[in-house]
Symmetry: C2
Subunit: 349 residues, 2 copies
């Protein structure tokens, strides 16, 4: 710090004020001090937290799949908040390849970002966890669970509550066999399965749902829907646990001439224009994706600037019923009670 003061031709106290981001610093003073810091080529690890921040004012964001509009909205929310606070965001895309997550953590660390926001491809990937343990900058994970020894803040979506409401609506309409298509074995998939189980348990119904785990892709949505409809006892309702999964599901339903709402009820997760503009409109479990991103940005800024403790924020989801959800087709021409008995008998199989 004394070298910086000498180089800048200012008092030590001025350097200290600039480096601690004191409000009473003129722009000219800040420029002089930072120029000296730059010229002397200080390394971040030799300097205080506040200096490191002043050096880069950037946050890295590891995204799992940038071509998914959900993640694009999260990234947008994060960037808007960071930019409002004078930070730039550098984004990398892992294409859901966990090895790339590990590479990108190291890459962004080398580029001296002040913090990392992570949407990890896998939760228990050893190389990524090792890279995170080596980091000396704050980390915020989005909708993932990481081991306790990694000091990460987390912003989580309450998928469980939204899916519980959606499944409850289907069950109350008389559906007894629900197909749930989810992505990778990550927190969102687990929470969605728990939500379905909750809805069944609340009604004292046996668990006759079929869960198809795979990936958050159109291909998985298509294949899982095919498998569900080809089953001996096909479900009368499908919950697509992701905005890419629902596209594949719709493709398969349309190919078979299965009418959404009339022949099979359909619920999706994460609104996209397609679910709203579809005829009939598709019921969804909504969440505020930009809020997820902006909350992640706020958490990382608090850790960078205030040295805040890691903390967890749970954000709500909401079930929005639409015309794609209706009583099961088989029940329509029959009185309700026998249809329900029939369904229950089936469920026992």
């Amino acid at each position: 710090m004394s070298e910086v003061a000498r180089r800048a031709g200012v008092a030590m106290s001025s350097v200290s004020r600039v480096l601690s981001d004191h409000p009473d610093v003129s722009d000219g003073m800040r420029a002089k001090v930072m120029a000296a810091v730059d010229e002397l080529g200080y390394k971040p690890n030799l300097l205080a937290q506040s200096l490191r921040r002043l050096e880069t004012l950037s946050v890295g964001f590891l995204v799992g799949d940038i071509s998914n509009p959900l993640l694009a909205q999260i990234a947008k929310g994060a960037e808007t908040t960071l930019r409002d606070q004078g930070y730039s965001m550098l984004l990398t895309n892992s294409e859901r390849d966990p090895d790339l997550d590990a590479d990108h953590v190291r890459l962004l660390e080398q580029r001296r970002v002040d913090g990392l926001i992570l949407s990890l491809a896998q939760e228990g990937h050893e190389a990524t966890l090792a890279a995170l343990r080596d980091l000396d900058i704050p980390v915020v994970v989005i909708d993932r669970v990481v081991p306790d020894d990694i000091e990460a803040s987390a912003v989580l979506s309450d998928h469980r509550t939204g899916i519980r409401a959606a499944a409850g609506h289907l069950l109350d309409l008389g559906h007894r066999r629900i197909g749930l298509i989810v992505g990778q074995p990550l927190r969102p998939s687990r929470e969605r399965q728990l939500g379905l189980a909750d809805a069944l348990a609340e009604r004292g119904l046996p668990s006759t749902s079929i869960v198809m785990e795979g990936s958050l892709s159109q291909e998985h949505g298509e294949e899982a829907t095919r498998a569900l409809l080809d089953a001996d006892d096909p479900p009368t309702a499908i919950i697509a646990g992701g905005n890419q999964i629902v596209i594949g599901a719709l493709r398969e339903l349309s190919r078979r001439g299965v009418r959404v709402g009339a022949d099979v009820s359909l619920v999706s997760c994460d609104d996209v224009p397609m679910t709203e503009l579809h005829q009939p409109p598709i019921a969804v479990v909504l969440r505020d994706n930009e809020l997820l991103g902006s909350t992640a940005a706020e958490l990382i800024l608090r850790r960078i600037r205030e040295d805040d403790e890691p903390r967890e924020v749970l954000l709500p989801t909401t079930y929005v019923p639409r015309e794609s959800v209706a009583p099961p087709a088989a029940a329509a021409p029959q009185p309700k009670a026998p249809a329900e008995r029939k369904s229950r008998r089936r469920s026992g199989a």
Copy 2:
């Protein structure tokens, strides 16, 4: 270079071979030399192009709107190609704010990327052009025209040919009044307008189309559709020049109960699942977005590694007719000839 050789304990020729990326270099030798380079803290501008590359192996990508699936696909194509060649990609998002483009050019330059791929928010933005003139790393622009004194390679989409085919199809079906909704006054908008003009000129028809210029947003699509339908002489066909524009257009059409295909013909640009899954499916002018991205990546790598001249690559678009395009509704109950006469009379107004 001699300092590096001394520090690494190797011959000058070995340093030179490593720095010029000669194939006959062992991994051990490369590691030794690069460690010395790192320890000595060489600045990129003091070293050869090849060394700079070895220092960062990263390319920056300035995206205009990451929440647009088109740009997400382009980014994905670019990243896949860069990664295959051992490069990382750092992405920034300007939210279509040209001031951020200028900031991000400087940010990524500071982060020492080896090259920049740009999807600029504006073509003639002075601060951005100034930042680009200051750069000493190669640049590739995507679907933009920049002044000649900026030595940029360019990968361009041939929007004109695709729109000419789409408009030609509409005109041959009897449509005489076509509404074209485009985004910002950038190359894609200009080329799309030229394509429509071509189709009219080829058939010796007067220019009776209505062009609505605005932004590549759902809001503009909605407002422009409203204005077109409220016009005294509304168009019988709409070409939505962008995948966000078509979402807004569909929203407005659906609100008014205007049936796509039956009441008004509709063509979109850039396929998204919604256009394919819509009932009826929506005709589109397609392009290969991932190819756009991978071509941009190839161009930047050639400039980084082979010091290639800036060059321009034009990629094709294809018109795919679908059920959203049909003869004009007014013509249906009448014999064809009078309807055409009527349309022509209208066009003259």
